[in-house]
Symmetry: C2
Subunit: 345 residues, 2 copies
């Protein structure tokens, strides 16, 4: 059986890992470019559901010579018949449920998955039953899965958790990230609502169609790691209103319209009140962009990343850097915090 032939890839440690890319958007293409420079990676192909992309060579997206012979397939099964990847880089969605649907064929083929799907950071939050089933499926077919990225995946969740490794006690955690969206790619400027009517932005957020994805997951992951029993995670998101006309490479925003978002998540924990607050601000012309983690406890920890961690480069890096750690972790639906300490690979 083909499935049998694919099984247990994660137990072997070949010189090169065979990587396929699922989703040829900007992040996927950048991941392929980064992978091309890694001597331990062999890129074997791509998958995209867009029919205009299938059949083309990956080089036509990445501009990289060594990708000439790598084709884009319309489905994972088609790719899998032609090439035999060890790992798929999945960059095609934010919802855990949809991602489970997309990656199930990979798991059944014994192929591991590193994904930027935001909800996959802590899929137990929205899909507890399916996560348990999926973990069992991963173990049955010998595949490992992890959701990663810079946010969620690092700055506002893994990093605070990592810092508590030197904590005798943790009373409360405050995490803040302020991103100057003017310096970021078009998609991010769009995502934060640039140019939108503030009322419309609020409506879209209420409908689950605007705002930063995976924020509750970040909070849930921190609580999980600290053994905090979550009563409720609350989330709010307000538009940031431009106080002057703003012009970026991609948008012109008149004063009074939305130029970004201010999103807050709080975790209510049984017996502890609200020990976790996370504050995310992403807007055009934001001053003093930075990431900050403040942990009240023993010892007190006051960490600041000046300028913040730039999202796009870092997300792509996280996606690729996790591969060796994911394969070493063996089969299962993993959390980033279960894997070995992050590292450049």
């Amino acid at each position: 059986m083909a499935v049998e032939a694919h099984k247990s890839k994660i137990k072997s440690a070949p010189d090169k890992f065979k990587i396929a890319q699922f989703g040829l958007g900007m992040i996927g293409i950048e991941a392929l470019r980064l992978a091309a420079g890694k001597p331990w990676i062999e890129v074997v192909g791509g998958v995209d559901i867009d029919p205009s992309k299938a059949g083309r060579s990956l080089a036509s997206f990445t501009g990289i010579d060594s990708h000439q012979h790598c084709k884009v397939f319309p489905t994972f099964d088609a790719l899998c018949n032609a090439a035999e990847p060890d790992v798929v880089l999945h960059t095609a969605g934010s919802k855990a449920g949809e991602t489970f649907d997309q990656i199930e064929p990979m798991i059944r083929a014994g192929v591991s998955v590193s994904s930027t799907c935001e909800e996959l950071l802590y899929p137990q939050l929205r899909e507890p039953e399916r996560s348990a089933q999926f973990d069992a499926l991963c173990r049955e077919f010998g595949a490992g899965v992890v959701g990663t990225g810079v946010n969620p995946g690092f700055v506002m969740d893994l990093l605070p958790v990592c810092l508590t490794g030197v904590s005798r006690s943790v009373e409360s955690i405050y995490v803040q990230r302020i991103v100057n969206a003017s310096t970021r790619r078009m998609q991010l400027q769009k995502k934060v609502g640039s140019g939108m009517d503030p009322r419309q932005f609020r409506e879209l957020f209420r409908a689950g169609k605007a705002g930063h994805a995976g924020f509750r997951e970040s909070a849930a992951l921190i609580c999980h790691c600290l053994g905090w029993e979550v009563e409720q995670i609350t989330e709010s998101c307000e538009p940031v209103i431009a106080d002057h006309d703003i012009k970026t490479e991609f948008f012109s925003v008149k004063a009074g319209l939305t130029c970004g978002l201010h999103q807050i998540v709080e975790a209510h924990v049984i017996g502890r009140g609200k020990p976790l607050t996370m504050d995310l601000q992403m807007y055009l012309d934001a001053r003093d962009p930075h990431d900050a983690v403040r942990i009240k406890g023993e010892p007190m920890l006051d960490v600041r990343i000046n300028g913040g961690v730039a999202g796009d480069h870092a997300t792509v890096a996280a996606l690729v850097n996790v591969i060796p750690r994911l394969l070493r972790a063996g089969s299962g639906l993993h959390l980033m915090t279960d894997l070995a300490v992050p590292s450049f690979a």
Copy 2:
């Protein structure tokens, strides 16, 4: 065989882990106090080679009621005949070679070890052959070993490594730690040379009897994780000279005498020049104590811990927090960076 009976402890996941403390100095006693508050730990005894300590109850050191029935034994074997620990917290030395001697009986009894031994952070640096033998021994007897702490073990090594998890490229790393020794315990003030004649301090450093231990190990661990092939690690240490009379709780230092140390380690890496510089300053009345990590690469990362991570609390916390991750990692001589992401436990 007793050895057989002890084997494979790390595979079971009991409700409580049985912990013994090896070394009843200040850090060991604090570790026991911290452990006493953890519902997942049962303290079963202690070991100290000081004959005046053997036979006493741990409670006479910790002041904790539940330690009344826990005895201090003169050797690990004596303890092991009376109690059956899953993990030993080892806080009795800085040298990898001496620590290997001390913990070998534990390994042969299948008991895992979390140690503050500075050189155990990366024992391959000074004891490459013995480290390989010891790793094999660990696997044979089903025990896990790790060297941990705050520095080495976190601030100047694990944290920079962790940050590179979101790096597309890493050109160079600069790590700085400035500790105001006036706020620290007597042993640290003594260790940094407080009150010493500067010439004498330099001689002691040259003889390997002064200075911060494990600094080269921190550098070697970072290079190991980044795949940098080390040509040479150079280390210098100069006394910081008091420019005014300084009085702490423990020392009076006249102007002109040593009030601390300034230690620098650089890693020379094949094909990369000197991409890693680590700068440690620990002295009395230091202004603006902080930890900093600056990574030149894509993205640029500029991280600062205001006030720095206070050493003593954090070392004890690291020692205890690592236990569940150590046991989950299975048998072997582990590096902190091989284990799961640090977390409060």
